[in-house]
């Protein structure tokens, strides 16, 4: 997978890496057992301090998403942890917030938003 970091971003660089790797695992672009670049490789590839990569990997490891095998490298975990319910709700809340703001700006009423959600739900189940 390709990682791209942007130093002027709202998120610090190590968080950008954490997020991109997390999203890639969640989206199936990184599969269990797949090897990640080493600290050194990623630092040179992204032109960032090696310690920043280490910090990102440490965080991903703490979250149980990746594991280090001594001498072999860093791999996506075979068994991924169940998502954190608080974080899950928080993310959903953010998305819902955006949806409601967009609806309000477009002059779309709450009932209409609800019927849109029902419609989408049906499409997904179909």
């Amino acid at each position: 997978m390709q990682i791209y970091v942007h130093p002027g971003d709202e998120l610090p660089i190590y968080r950008q890496i954490v997020r991109q790797v997390t999203d890639a695992i969640a989206g199936g672009r990184l599969r269990a057992g797949e090897r990640l670049p080493s600290h050194r490789e990623l630092a040179i590839q992204l032109v960032i301090a090696p310690l920043t990569v280490k910090k990102a990997y440490d965080e991903l490891e703490r979250a149980g998403l990746i594991g280090t095998q001594r001498g072999r490298g860093t791999f996506v975990s075979d068994r991924l942890p169940a998502p954190d319910p608080v974080l899950k709700r928080e993310r959903l809340r953010e998305a819902a917030q955006r949806l409601l703001s967009q609806a309000a700006l477009s002059g779309v009423g709450y009932d209409e938003v609800l019927s849109l959600l029902e419609e989408l739900q049906k499409e997904m189940q179909a």
């Binding site: 130093p7 660089i13 301090a49």
Partner: protein, 297 residues
């Protein structure tokens, strides 16, 4: 042992006007410190004091445990230094400059010098005076790095370079960092370069260390509060809020930087000043710099 130690450094250029007025911080081995401050804040002075080129009027400096004024040769052998306006002798050929450095440094790594030389496309026969600014900086960088210094002192190493040359410079520094784990202190006005390279930020303002924090801690643990103007609300009252380290007055609002996460910062300002409608957010390094250095001092 720390790679670098500044203890109570003072230095004035004109009588009574201190550029550095008691600067204290130390850098453990392997750390990369971004040194921030406005022009004239004393960054160059501090780096020159570490190189033993000028003397502090008070305080002490230790470079790799040594006093650079007492042991100048040993310090210079173990340190790599690139200055903003590196003066290389214009009449010498690039190759002669490299040869000179090779002779001066017992730890010179010829393979590394060759590699950098190829990468930077340096031509030995070219006169230094005929080099472009970018080429001259690359030559200076090669000379500062090829002896694999334990400590690199970089004073605005990228100023005047185009974005491609700057990126190449960073790539080289990161490779070296990765290979030899050297300690780096570098000043730059390119905040994105600092975000790429630094583990820690030291910001000098009004002659002293205003901020000394891990970069990520600064990015996530500090907030900018936008405080709408209100009757009786002054800069001084805001500065009195716990954790507030700087206030800048703007026409529509006060901008306050707090040593707190956004939620805590908002609560602190609203509670302690009994006001509402305060917006708080984390900020990128560039904005942090402007907020802290741009206000009246």
């Amino acid at each position: 042992m720390n790679a670098l130690e500044f203890e109570g450094i003072r230095r004035a250029y004109r009588k009574g006007v201190d550029v550095l007025d008691g600067v204290t911080f130390s850098v453990p081995p392997g750390q990369v410190v971004g040194l921030l401050g406005r022009n004239g804040a004393g960054k160059t002075t501090l780096i020159r004091i570490a190189m033993g080129m000028i003397e502090a009027q008070a305080g002490s400096v230790r470079v790799l445990g040594l006093d650079p004024r007492a042991r100048p040769v040993e310090v210079k052998r173990r340190v790599g230094y690139v200055a903003e306006d590196q003066i290389l002798p214009p009449f010498m050929k690039a190759g002669q400059v490299v040869d000179l450095h090779r002779a001066l440094f017992p730890t010179w790594d010829e393979a590394l010098a060759e590699r950098l030389s190829r990468r930077f496309e340096l031509r030995r026969e070219e006169k230094v005076g005929a080099l472009s600014k970018g080429q001259a900086r690359r030559l200076a960088l090669l000379c500062a790095m090829a002896h694999r210094p334990e400590l690199l002192l970089l004073d605005e190493p990228a100023s005047g370079l185009d974005p491609a040359a700057r990126r190449e410079f960073l790539e080289t520094a990161i490779e070296l960092l990765d290979e030899s784990g050297c300690t780096i202190l570098f000043s730059s006005h390119y905040m994105t370069d600092i975000e790429r390279m630094a583990d820690r930020i030291v910001m000098i303002h009004d002659g002293r260390v205003l901020i000394d924090r891990g970069l990520d801690e600064l990015r996530e643990g500090f907030s900018l509060a936008l405080v709408p103007r209100a009757p009786g609300l002054t800069r001084e009252r805001l500065l009195g809020v716990e954790g507030c380290i700087g206030v800048r007055e703007r026409p529509e609002a006060f901008h306050a930087v707090l040593r707190l996460e956004p939620e805590e910062a908002r609560a602190a300002v609203e509670r302690q000043l009994a006001i509402g409608d305060v917006r708080c957010q984390t900020v990128v390094l560039e904005d942090m710099f402007v907020e802290l250095a741009g206000g009246p001092s």
